[in-house]
């Protein structure tokens, strides 16, 4: 079997005396869509924070593309293609939609401070490239009509799409989506679902955290997290039949 893109082995974490993750082990195969469900407080977001470098785990190992992730900063992980979105969309409120997307593209280019201060031809060229790419991304994600608006004026659904566009323009290998359907209406969730499938077909591996069982059916494998442990794994149909999952999560 091919080596997984991301592998978690016995990852554990606690805040103070409160154990949030006991021992979490699972793989994210390259090219897959992996789902993670679990009730509130089961440790999903903590796991995201650990993988993306916001928190350092107290136990266990994480391997990404065959190499262990230990001291790498959030930024370094981002440069390696690990990109996340947030449970509450984090858009740059005072910037326009286009500028938001442009920020996502800055990591693909390099300028020095001096070049930027003096607006050298190299700096100008990079900015033109960033703008062109961002305009193309806006077009693609249906944000063109909104692109001169401040991000603060967007609806919840538009913010989600903007956040995803901003992440995707940075060419992620593994995209981690934290509750992407929260605050969206049914139509918007359908749109989001299509995006997840399309991005995956383009070669982006996806790790999806959600409460939304309907959205979760896009995932090929779903892991159920309960009090910091994986209690069931399988496709969504199998998960929904699993008696333990029904008991702890669906409440039936």
């Amino acid at each position: 079997m091919a080596e997984p893109l991301l592998a978690l082995r016995e990852v554990g974490h606690s805040f103070g005396g409160l154990s949030v993750l006991r021992s979490v082990t699972f793989d994210v195969p390259e090219g897959g869509i992996i789902g993670l469900i679990g009730p509130n407080g089961s440790g999903k977001t903590t796991l995201f924070n650990i993988v993306t470098g916001y928190i350092r785990p107290l136990a266990g190992t994480i391997t990404y593309r065959g190499a262990p992730l230990v001291r790498e900063t959030i930024q370094q992980r981002g440069l390696q293609g690990l990109v996340r979105t947030f449970q509450t969309p984090q858009v740059f409120e005072q910037m326009t939609v286009l500028e938001n997307v442009m920020v996502g593209c800055t990591k693909l280019t390099r300028t020095t401070m001096l070049q930027d201060l003096l607006r050298t031809p190299a700096a100008r060229g990079q900015m033109r490239e960033i703008r062109a790419r961002a305009e193309a991304a806006c077009e693609r994600f249906g944000l063109t009509a909104l692109r001169e608006l401040p991000a603060a004026s967007l609806t919840a659904g538009q913010r989600r799409i903007l956040e995803i566009a901003r992440a995707v323009i940075g060419e992620p290998r593994l995209l981690l989506l934290d509750e992407p359907s929260s605050g969206l209406n049914v139509q918007e969730i359908d749109g989001l679902r299509e995006w997840i499938v399309r991005l995956n077909e383009e070669g982006i591996t996806i790790l999806l955290v959600s409460h939304d069982m309907g959205l979760m059916t896009v995932a090929r494998t779903v892991h159920t997290l309960y009090f910091g442990e994986i209690i069931a794994s399988g496709d969504m149909a199998a998960i929904q039949r699993d008696p333990r999952v029904r008991e702890v999560y669906l409440g039936v």
Binding site: F86, M95, T111
Partner: protein, 317 residues
């Protein structure tokens, strides 16, 4: 450049060019100070408006620039350009060394950290009298000589200072408009999301702090050659506070706002001082009024007013 910009830019330039010849000498002197303060204020504006950082240490870098110019020209007899360069180099190095640790702090803690820096520097300027002359200061700093043209009158120095100020404004504008500027604004709006997009917050803040110090030092050198005398009184914490007021009053995200803020802090105390002892209270009240009534500064308030009128006009048409 679009014709509408030209429409207001051309008259502004004409007024700017004629001004030093038609105003009395003391006003020309204040206009020179406005230019110097604009340079210093631009750095703070970049930090405040684009990084959300309150820098209360600008008088430190202003002092370093001024003392470097004074020491190099008076004590060592070197050409004035050496003073400018030495001040810039020392200020930028200090900003880097101090910026790395203190820029980890955020909000009020960072503001207090920079305030401490200003207090320490101000004490050292006083204590190290072998270098700075202490309260006696260093006098006899020569006027700048530009290829044989001596800038010995406010009306002459005015042009030099303002050309430097315009150059600094252009540089600041470049930065805001650049890739770095994009990352700065992203960091200001949401540092969590900026980090997720691989923006190195720490490095970015340090770089802008270094640029801010460069502007401060440049302003200090300009000041030294204008006043021809520097002493500790010019580089106290009070001065750091009045530098911070420049972007706060004018509008931190706007470059013309910095000029407006610089005009405010140079001219208003002078105008109010004619009213006698009460002037400091009046200046304080004016500050409070601006900060409370116009949180985005004078330029921000003006822009808001204009959109309101434009909307009214639109509804009639």
């Amino acid at each position: 450049m679009n014709p509408r910009t030209l429409l207001w830019l051309v008259p502004c330039l004409i007024v700017w060019a004629v001004l030093p010849f038609v105003v009395p000498r003391n006003i020309a002197d204040l206009l020179v100070f406005t230019g110097i303060y604009t340079v210093a204020g631009l750095g703070i504006g970049l930090l405040l408006g684009h990084c959300g950082i309150v820098n209360l240490a600008q008088a430190t870098f202003y002092g370093l620039g001024a003392y470097a110019s004074a020491y190099c020209t008076v004590m060592m007899g070197l050409p004035s350009i050496v003073g400018f360069l030495a001040g810039a180099a020392i200020s930028m190095a200090l900003a880097y060394v101090i910026g790395r640790p203190i820029l980890r702090l955020t909000g009020y803690f960072l503001a207090l950290g920079t305030l401490a820096l200003s207090a320490i520097a101000s004490a050292l300027f006083f204590e190290w009298d072998w270098l700075t002359g202490g309260t006696l200061g260093i006098g006899g700093i020569p006027k700048l000589d530009l290829f044989g043209f001596l800038l010995d009158r406010p009306s002459r120095y005015y042009f030099f200072v303002w050309i430097v100020a315009f150059a600094c404004m252009a540089v600041a504008h470049n930065l805001i408009d650049s890739r770095t500027g994009l990352m700065l604004r992203a960091m200001r709006d949401s540092s969590t999301a900026a980090a997720a997009l691989s923006i190195d917050l720490q490095a970015l803040r340090t770089k802008v702090f270094v640029v801010c110090a460069l502007f401060g030092s440049l302003a200090g050198s300009l000041f030294a050659h204008h006043a021809s005398f520097v002493s500790t009184q010019s580089f106290t914490v009070d001065r750091s506070i009045s530098f911070l007021l420049i972007p706060v009053i004018g509008g931190a995200t706007s470059i013309p706002g910095i000029v407006v803020g610089a005009l405010f802090v140079t001219f208003l105390p002078e105008l109010l001082s004619k009213l006698g002892d009460i002037h400091q209270i009046l200046f304080g009240l004016a500050l409070v009024a601006v900060v409370v009534l116009m949180p985005e500064g004078l330029v921000g308030a003006f822009a808001k007013l204009r959109t309101r009128f434009a909307r009214k006009g639109g509804s009639h048409g």
